[in-house]
């Protein structure tokens, strides 16, 4: 007896074939595709939040108007360096500022003739409260029009939005899982209804509920794993192919080489198999429970 035959149980050979199996696999593939897209989005969104937290979590930027004199710039820098809680202060060179503006102005822009403000990159000590409002006032009194941007506020907003997006995706994944279970339940019930006389006969001549459920569960597990795997692989391909173009999630995954996407795909296939098995088992046992 082959391993597959042993896995399907001794009654498998005597049960009629399931013509709806390919349809179930296709439907699970579709759900697996959606689940993998959702799971991949969760992974990549998490990446984005982590990356932004690292780059912006302790950063302030000071913009000093182009008209400000060198002395006022130096005074502003000195004020920042003396402020408790500020770890480092770095005045960006005009060339660095030009590189930052390049995506908007293009490489040919003559930034030296434009009134481009001087930028100061300020790093603060983590978890130290700084009186940003007071600091803004003092900087403005040194260099009129100086603007101190606190990226930590923007980061809080981004984190909130990301959390809401993650919650929505998780809800969607739960809905997809529930749909998969309901679908398997329905398809198994249809199979049982189509072959009701056969199952009744098995029951009447002494087949135990578990023995009758086993081959149907095994079939559902195979369809679930197969469908889930196909859908998951297609989703990884789709994520890799179009990932870079999806906004606002900036996909930093390195395509097929990103093991985490494959981890999501494997998890989706396994969960699809388990859900299909559970749905089939519930359907069989419920149906058998109606028999005396």
């Amino acid at each position: 007896m082959s391993a597959l035959a042993a896995f399907r149980g001794r009654l498998a050979r005597a049960l009629p074939g399931d013509s709806s199996a390919p349809l179930l696999a296709c439907m699970i593939a579709l759900l697996g595709f959606l689940a993998t897209l959702g799971g991949g989005a969760l992974v990549l969104l998490g990446d984005d939040v982590r990356e932004k937290s690292l780059s912006l979590g302790d950063a302030l930027t000071l913009q000093i108007p182009a008209s400000a004199s060198t002395a006022r710039i130096e005074m502003s820098l000195a004020l920042l360096r003396q402020t408790a809680g500020i770890r480092s202060v770095r005045l960006l060179e005009p060339a660095e500022t030009a590189r930052l503006l390049e995506p908007w102005l293009g490489p040919a822009a003559a930034t030296d003739t434009l009134p481009v403000p001087r930028l100061v990159d300020v790093t603060v000590e983590p978890h130290v409260a700084i009186d940003v409002a007071g600091l803004r006032q003092r900087l403005a009194s040194i260099a009129s029009g100086a603007l101190l941007e606190d990226h930590r506020l923007a980061l809080d907003g981004f984190r909130g939005a990301a959390f809401r997006a993650e919650a929505l995706i998780a809800l969607g994944l739960a809905a997809v899982a529930a749909l998969g279970g309901a679908l398997t339940l329905l398809m198994t019930r249809t199979r049982l209804a189509l072959h009701r006389a056969t199952f009744e006969l098995f029951h009447l001549i002494g087949a135990a509920d578990g023995d009758l459920a086993r081959p149907i569960q095994a079939d559902a597990l195979i369809q679930g794993l197969l469908g889930g795997a196909i859908g998951a692989v297609l989703a990884v391909v789709a994520l890799t192919a179009v990932g870079g173009a999806i906004a606002p999630v900036r996909l930093s995954a390195s395509g097929f080489a990103d093991w985490r996407l494959w981890g999501v795909a494997i998890a989706v296939a396994l969960v699809a198999g388990l859900i299909a098995t559970g749905g089939a088992r519930i359907a069989v046992l419920r149906q058998l429970a109606r028999m005396p």
Binding site: L11, P16, D209
Partner: protein
């Protein structure tokens, strides 16, 4: 009420079994009956008298509305599902309709109870082959049931019921609509099984056939046991 050896096990014990099919429909009324190991009896009665209902209750294919059912000294109505499945495996049933499965070969149909019981494949083939040969359907063993005549279908159904050598054989109108060749073949099979210790219960509407068998018979009339005829042998 039939009584066998006092020391024997109660194979079937019905105590005031009732079955209601709803207002206006005949069911079963206060049926009490005991069959012990080695009993062989007929239940006679016109069509619609309740024979099939009674056999279905004994075979655990239906639940009575009232009363107690003992199978192999076990209260079958109080037993859990696993126990009821185990009790069913000790019963061979020849249904009124052969109920052969079209997607299986005749051999696989006959071997079904053995497969359910977990008998090794080689043993299944051997038992099925011997039985099919004995019942004259060996040449049809690899065919589908659709290829069989009515008599051959009945024989295949009977073979399925007795292949596992059950402790109780229940046959519902096994001779109904079969040819002259099949009737003695089936009776010989039932007798042979009985000689091996199986308790046999056969329902038929053919009173003459039951009398001719020389076995005790019970008569069902509109859901009630009306006549007990102990026959010539018992």
């Amino acid at each position: 009420m039939l009584r066998g050896d006092a020391a024997g096990m109660t194979v079937v014990g019905l105590d005031n079994i009732g079955k209601s099919h709803g207002a206006g429909a005949d069911g079963l009324h206060d049926i009490s009956l005991t069959l012990e190991t080695g009993d062989f009896c007929f239940i006679t009665g016109a069509r619609g008298a309740g024979k099939t209902t009674l056999l279905n209750i004994i075979a655990l294919a239906d639940k009575p509305s009232s009363g107690t059912l003992i199978l192999f000294d076990t209260d079958a109505l109080e037993a859990d599902r696993a126990t009821r499945s185990a009790l069913r495996r000790r019963i061979g049933i020849v249904f009124q309709e052969p109920r052969l499965l079209d997607h299986l070969s005749v051999a696989d149909n006959i071997g079904l109870p053995l497969r359910i019981a977990g008998t090794p494949e080689m043993e299944i083939r051997q038992h099925v082959g011997e039985l099919a040969d004995w019942l004259g359907i060996a040449h049809r063993i690899d065919s589908g049931p659709q290829a069989l005549s009515i008599g051959e279908r009945k024989r295949a159904a009977a073979a399925r019921a007795i292949v596992s050598r059950p402790d109780l054989l229940i046959a519902d109108e096994p001779m109904d609509g079969v040819d002259d060749e099949t009737v003695p073949m089936l009776m010989r099979a039932f007798e042979q099984l009985h000689n091996l210790g199986t308790t046999v219960l056969v329902a038929t509407h053919d009173l003459a056939f039951a009398r001719h068998s020389g076995r005790p018979s019970l008569h069902l009339d509109r859901g009630a046991l009306a006549i007990a005829d102990d026959g010539a042998a018992g």
